[in-house]
């Protein structure tokens, strides 16, 4: 018994890989389509090809999160739709676009991929017993930083590079959004409308998947409904409808510091919303200011940062839906926590300085920055809004999880986090000495919080970065964790299992002192 092969090493090589080559092949095809689209000449640069690439990627991701062993019965229709949608992209490539209008091709192929994804999710998670199904995650290349994941990251990042720096290459794709754009906002589509449409669609489709996947958990269900609506209504329909009414494209779910221009002094950026004709512009500026400086502290005091980060925010909406399969990829080492704190608070300091500089500059009528005034604002918006949040935030989903931006770069998360850490009723309560140290919570924390470190000490989790997605409580096989908003007293309960010789001795004091709800 003692002279056996080191089992630790045997296990480190991973469990047997089942036939999961399909996602890898699909992701590879996506890369190929992307390359064809990028470097292809007419007619190979047809937008359907790009949609097909993105669809391939989505279907690779959907196929990849198959819980091992689950029968795929009833999912044939789903698969057919997904592949049918992709085939349409191919047909478009082969000249179908000459016969059928672009927008029909695109609507049908996108629609087929979306419908197929939903049908697959329903077959996978919507039938049979409900419960947490993370089986096979680490046997799947797409989900464990295998070849497919790297390809997916390249394709996604490539898409963002095109979107930000070479939007003209997406012209065909943008034009096909015209019918939708004219319907909603009465104007031709631009690259951001195209992006917003795809983004909201991803949140909707993968949100429906999440609803099936977590159907046993009412917290997850309500939260998922919230993110679908927040993205679809607050961050998509309302801003576009405002455009239709000749009002500023205003997002009620963003404010300073994520949308610094909402507070910008009048002479920077694209004019000041305040100066917009009519009363709506003034309402928007007041709304933004009230949200940023009054609502944020109050709501965060009562509910923690989750009211925003995992219920409302657009980045959170995508992370909680399209990013759901990648939660376990967040690094939970102490080192990444250190990097995270320096970066996110560094960003907050920069943003605050930037804002102050611009206001002072404005008060001095440009005397501080001179001709650089407008450039400063644009660089600021571009670096933080676009490059960070998009390219790295979403492009790295398959490699570092869906919350890279939220952990390391978001100034709004930094503010909410500071309030949550020091001035909030929110905490994740640990249920006495029930933790069995298994590590599901830490593994599936998308923010890379080592939840188990606290839970196994019997300590409540009060961390600035926690977005309150509730997944630790969902995956815990012993029901050890509970998200709570309760009185601040007893919030930092100390490591019970460490400092006290006996958890129940502590329990006496606790039960006697706590005032229930």
């Amino acid at each position: 018994m003692s002279d056996r092969l080191d089992p630790t090493l045997a296990l480190a090589s991973g469990p047997p890989e089942e036939s999961r080559r399909v996602p890898t092949v699909l992701a590879g095809l996506a890369l190929l389509f992307m390359a064809v689209f990028l470097f292809g000449v007419f007619p190979f640069n047809h937008p359907s090809v790009l949609v097909a690439a993105i669809g391939l990627l989505a279907s690779a991701a959907v196929l990849a999160d198959r819980p091992s062993g689950d029968a795929m019965s009833g999912s044939r229709l789903g698969k057919s739709l997904v592949f049918g949608g992709l085939a349409l992209g191919l047909l478009a490539l082969l000249g179908l676009w000459r016969i059928v209008p672009d927008w029909i091709l695109l609507t049908v192929s996108t629609g087929a991929v979306c419908a197929g994804t939903i049908i697959l999710a329903r077959a996978r998670y919507g039938s049979g017993p409900a419960g947490i199904r993370n089986h096979g995650v680490y046997n799947t290349p797409m989900l464990r930083r295998g070849g497919a994941a790297w390809i997916a990251a390249v394709v996604l990042t490539g898409f963002y590079v095109l979107l930000y720096w070479f939007p003209q290459s997406l012209e065909g794709l943008i034009r096909t959004m015209d019918p939708v754009s004219y319907t909603i906002r009465g104007a031709a589509a631009d690259q951001w409308f195209m992006y917003g449409t795809l983004y909201s669609l991803a949140v909707l489709v993968m949100g429906i998947r999440a609803l099936y996947r977590y159907r046993h958990d009412r917290y997850q269900r309500w939260r998922t409904v919230s993110v679908i609506l927040a993205q679809g209504v607050l961050a998509y329909l309302i801003p576009q409808i405002l455009v239709a009414f000749n009002e500023p494209e205003f997002y009620f779910s963003y404010f300073w510091p994520l949308k610094p221009e909402y507070l910008w002094p009048g002479d920077f950026g694209n004019g000041w919303i305040w100066d917009h004709p009519g009363r709506l512009g003034r309402f928007m500026v007041i709304w933004g200011a009230v949200m940023a400086f009054v609502a944020v502290p109050i709501l965060t005091y009562f509910f923690g940062k989750r009211w925003y980060c995992s219920w409302v925010c657009g980045c959170g909406c995508l992370a909680e839906t399209a990013g759901d399969p990648y939660r376990h990829l967040a690094d939970s080492s102490v080192r990444s926590w250190q990097i995270e704190r320096w970066m996110i608070h560094g960003v907050l300091v920069l943003v605050t300085i930037g804002t102050v500089v611009l206001w002072v500059n404005s008060a001095m009528e440009g005397g501080l920055l001179g001709s650089f005034s407008g450039g400063f604002a644009r660089v600021y918006g571009f670096v933080f809004g676009s490059v960070w949040a998009g390219v790295i935030g979403v492009g790295f989903y398959p490699l570092m999880g869906a919350r890279v931006w939220c952990r390391f770069g978001c100034p709004q998360a930094a503010i909410l986090g500071l309030i949550q850490r020091f001035f909030s009723r929110f905490r994740i309560t640990t249920n006495g000495g029930q933790c069995i140290s298994c590590g599901n919570c830490t593994t599936y924390c998308e923010m890379g919080i080592d939840v188990r470190w606290y839970a196994q000490r019997g300590q409540n989790i009060v961390r600035a970065s926690c977005v309150g997605c509730g997944m630790c409580a969902s995956v815990c096989p012993r029901g050890v964790l509970k998200l709570e908003n309760s009185k601040q007293e007893g919030r930092f309960n100390g490591p019970v299992l460490i400092t006290s010789d006996e958890v129940d001795v502590m329990a006496e004091d606790w039960a006697a002192s706590v005032s229930w709800k």
Binding site: M1, P129, G432, N440, T443, A473
Partner: protein, 414 residues
């Protein structure tokens, strides 16, 4: 002062942490199983692909150096209590001043014919896991024997991999030595919902093997035959006493210890799964083999390792499990059928269940079982310890709920 601990499971590691917390003693942990402490409770998640081995380590690898806990990889083969030395299989000798044996346990085998065939095994440690991964590759069907917690875990592991599983339980109902019939039936439904073929009152007679010495099926005592290329044995565990007995320590079922965890040899303690109390605390077993009791032992044996042996004072009994998707918690003393002078109240909506056991005279609660409902340990410990009355408990029941926000509440009518 050099404290040496044999075994890096939850007992050994907890003891080491408490010794470090309260002293500057040199601490060495010897383990033959793994370089670092990992959560045995998570073995099933490695198999199912929910986690990697490295995710099951509760402490980062540098935790041990930072806390000056020396880790030695090797099997202890003999203890020389007179010269205070541990001899490793490699020939290495480790001197100690105080020694803790936390050698754990291993799966039971009851002398069935064919029980050592290829593909027949229990599940306790990493070696078992690696073996199971190999043995269950490309098989058509599997059998799990034994109606306890590990049996359900093995059934879940196998069925998650798409392997048809037959689960043989000797008792009339699953775990009927702990659960009421109604509770057992809920658990049985949860198991069957996952397509596991649960056979109650089914006892293994022998394991059939093929010409290559591989398991090919089982024969039950009632004469039924079932083909299976993997047979999981989950019929309890027994203490690892080899090291203690070859070293001349007193052993019975386990390594015999007094109420302060001291073995028959001076300066040598034993705790956790491997230990057997000569005179157990009232209401507790002589051999306690739960993960939670292992942690509790580890915390309390640390006093002895620090030079101030203290009698074992177990916390209020509690345990938890998950039967596929159905969570289970128990606090206090809950018998399948209330003992004389006790009664129980059951609240169930068909999918979840709460059973509160109380004294008939004064109505004081003595224990609770929960299936599909999460309860606060602190609140229930307090209620049971102080003998809160059933009426008061039912009135305040919501205070003890630990279910996630927005959960529907199980009605407990007063």
């Amino acid at each position: 002062m050099h404290v040496v601990i044999v075994g890096n499971g939850i007992t050994g590691v907890t003891a080491a942490r408490f010794v470090r917390k309260h002293s500057d003693h040199r601490i060495t942990i010897i383990s033959g199983e793994s370089d670092f402490h990992y959560a045995r409770t998570a073995l099933m998640y490695i198999y199912m692909g929910d986690m990697r081995y490295e995710d099951t380590k509760p402490y980062a690898d540098d935790f041990w150096t930072r806390n000056r806990i020396n880790l030695v990889r090797g099997y202890a083969s003999r203890v020389d209590a007179d010269s205070r030395e541990v001899h490793l299989a490699s020939g290495e000798v480790v001197r100690y001043d105080r020694l803790l044996l936390a050698t754990g346990s291993r799966p039971n085998r009851f002398g069935w014919q064919g029980e050592h065939a290829l593909g027949v095994q229990g599940l306790y440690g990493l070696e078992d896991l690696a073996e199971m991964e190999n043995a269950t590759r490309d098989i058509d069907s599997a059998v799990v024997v034994g109606g306890g917690l590990v049996g359900v875990e093995m059934a879940e592991m196998l069925s998650s991999g798409g392997i048809p599983v037959t689960f043989l339980v000797r008792e009339e109902h699953y775990m009927d030595y702990l659960l009421s019939t109604q509770e057992s039936e809920l658990v049985e439904a949860a198991i069957r919902a996952h397509g596991v073929r649960l056979e109650l009152e089914a006892e293994l007679d022998l394991v059939e093997t093929d010409s290559a010495g591989r398991a090919s099926g089982v024969l039950l005592k009632d004469g039924r035959r079932m083909p299976a290329q993997f047979i999981g044995l989950a019929v309890g565990v027994r203490p690892n006493t080899d090291l203690a007995s070859t070293s001349g320590l007193d052993t019975g079922r386990g390594i015999l210890i007094d109420s302060a965890f001291m073995t028959s040899a001076e300066g040598v303690f034993a705790a956790g799964d491997c230990a057997e109390f000569r005179s157990p605390v009232a209401g507790r077993k002589a051999v306690e083999q739960l993960w939670y009791t292992g942690r509790s032992h580890g915390r309390q044996v640390a006093a002895g390792l620090l030079g101030a042996p203290a009698d074992y004072a177990p916390p209020l009994f509690f345990n938890s499990a998950k039967f596929f998707d159905l969570e289970y918690q128990t606090y206090g003393v809950v018998e399948p059928v209330p003992a004389d002078g006790q009664a129980d109240r059951v609240f169930s909506d068909g999918a979840r269940l709460i059973r509160i056991v109380y004294r008939e005279g004064d109505g004081a609660v003595v224990g609770v079982n929960a299936l599909g409902v999460r309860l606060r340990q602190n609140v229930w410990s307090h209620w049971i310890r102080t003998g809160e009355s059933l009426d008061a408990v039912l009135r305040d029941f919501d205070r003890s709920l630990f279910d996630p926000e927005f959960s529907t509440r199980l009605e407990v009518a007063v």
